[in-house]
Subunit: 411 residues, 2 copies
Amino acid sequence: MTALSINAERLLGRIRELGQIGRDEDARLVRLAASDADKAGRDAFVAWIGDAGLEVAVDRIGNIFGIWKDGANAGRAPILLGSHIDTVINAGIYDGCYGVLSGLEVIETLKAAGYTPARPIAVAAFTNEEGVRYAPDMMGSLVFAGGLSVEAALATVGTDGTVLGAELERIGYAGPEEPSFLKPHAYVELHIEQGPVLEREGVSIGAVENLQGISWQRVTVDGDANHAGTTPMSMRRDAGHAAACVVTFLRDCARASNTPTVATVGCMSFEPNAINVIPSRATFTVDLRDPDEQRLQAAEAALAAYLKELAIAEEVTISVERLARFEPVTFDRKIVELVEAAARKRGLASKRMTSGAGHDAQMIARIAPSAMIFVPSLGGVSHNPREHTPDADLVAGANILLDVVTCLTAQ
Amino acid sequence: MTALSINAERLLGRIRELGQIGRDEDARLVRLAASDADKAGRDAFVAWIGDAGLEVAVDRIGNIFGIWKDGANAGRAPILLGSHIDTVINAGIYDGCYGVLSGLEVIETLKAAGYTPARPIAVAAFTNEEGVRYAPDMMGSLVFAGGLSVEAALATVGTDGTVLGAELERIGYAGPEEPSFLKPHAYVELHIEQGPVLEREGVSIGAVENLQGISWQRVTVDGDANHAGTTPMSMRRDAGHAAACVVTFLRDCARASNTPTVATVGCMSFEPNAINVIPSRATFTVDLRDPDEQRLQAAEAALAAYLKELAIAEEVTISVERLARFEPVTFDRKIVELVEAAARKRGLASKRMTSGAGHDAQMIARIAPSAMIFVPSLGGVSHNPREHTPDADLVAGANILLDVVTCLTAQ
């Protein structure tokens, strides 16, 4: 089977075709979960599943499955491939769609080659991975993995006031299957990196061994609004200055620690936000991530200790609100090794790496051995029309997925 | 004359009465320049000038003067007292009004006591000191001092689209006098400190010897928006972090310099301002003040040099826009000494100090020896309904003004 390769033209053609579905009046790609645009994307995917001669199944949360099984393997747990086809606002064409269409491509390639897998192979497009219209993100895979009840998920009210369950009914994707109808033997998700590492290091294949834990907090610093001209430096309780100290502290810590910890202050606002008034309040967010739970906890503890010191030193009041917290996920070592072996065989450089972003794979990892394969994102750009991966890398990644699936279904 | 004192009840009563004029539907004090509320305040002041038997004059920019002269001194340049009675939105009752009404009180006290000054004494309420509705602030005194043509000032378009000249006509305060009609021999302005120093140090009287120079700049840092999870710390061009470095740099400089330089970052905004996106842009303001022009220039130069280094070190682009620049003003040494001597005689503690805020006195200092007297502001609070100065301090300040004027008009 080593000589087998996917049909590059078919895969790239479908990625581009799906990327044209759901353009708004400004030609922006917007396929928010359970919208009319999402329906159009889903319809295209379901049609392709049918063209490939696979069985289509839709579960109650709207996850779509294309299943290839035969009389000999129908009783065994399938190898599941997949990702999502919903998008952010003004998205690129690769995020999610690449993994879904590559999963389908791998099955079609194997089927056309007369391969007889020892297990069924299925491809999934999970509902609402992006979480733009309905929170939380990765909802379809979370429900599929039993982490959230289907009833609670369907009752979610969106940012536009709609209810997810009603919208799924409306677009015809409130399926009959319980999300637990399919129990994967293993799960493999192919995805663009959405970060700059593979491109910078000239590596084609990322063998993703884990996924960072995420800690989101909102910090509010309260000081005193006073006149910028008449208040001596020594008499200030400057909330903006204290906030700036936290920003530089986080960066210095993350850089000094020689660990993969990343720390980001993405949101910042000052009150009253006037040029000649010392800020009475600064509000900002802290995004901490680490693939190791203990290091993530250590980073959180270091921040908490610093905020305590800072509040005393600057005579400000600091309060912290937790916005989100996910533990790191460790992917299946054996599948990661299969990815590395496949890359080696095809003469491609590979690198063990951490996923910095959240993915459906982190949810499926709760119920089945899982791993991910990354391909380079030029400039690390994602969630943006400039998101781009060269065709050669797209094809290479899909071929690695083909090889890994072949191994996983050999017996 | 040393036993003479002002009529505390009359002064305090007028401050409170004027403080009730121009309340909006939420009971906030709002007398923006040339508004109906400002007209009501002006009318009250003009009536009090009349009650005191003074001559009323209004110049073309709407500055109001109450002039006390007699046949013997009419040919000599007057001693001018004053401040402003326009306010910010949701103002306190003391800022400006205290100086205007104390000037009137001093004249009435001297007049009632049968004092015969060697020079005329006049009190002025300058138009649009606050600059909330029409820019620039301190406009009436700037025009009076010849720093801006009356035509240019009258043509100013306000934040509400109105034209100042038309509004002054409408409220009946487009006077006939050229702003140069009155040439002061000296100018003394009594004002609340609007800062915390006098209260903290337990001093009643500030002998204001200079007024800080002001440098306002807007700084824009451009980096790269990237995913907070997938972008290693070493590959970031984080505009928010660079902005935070500037905030801490400015504070560290101002604190380390052992000079009265003050530095404030009052406005701050991040783009795209999303929790999981590294800021691509940070925009913030820098307010630098110092009573010494060379030190102010040094602070500006230090900031410029730091921004240059930072742009290289952080691989960000930094641009700077100058928003305002005023040189420091040195007040008249002799008048400052008169203030100190008067405080000593009345057994009041005094302190030479710098005005951190801008005042009409800085404009009049261009054409006449000028100085200011400060009284404590509780908590340093101003431009706020919580603005407060105890009655005893208000009365003490007005008595110091009385004594200084007595000295200045003795010969």
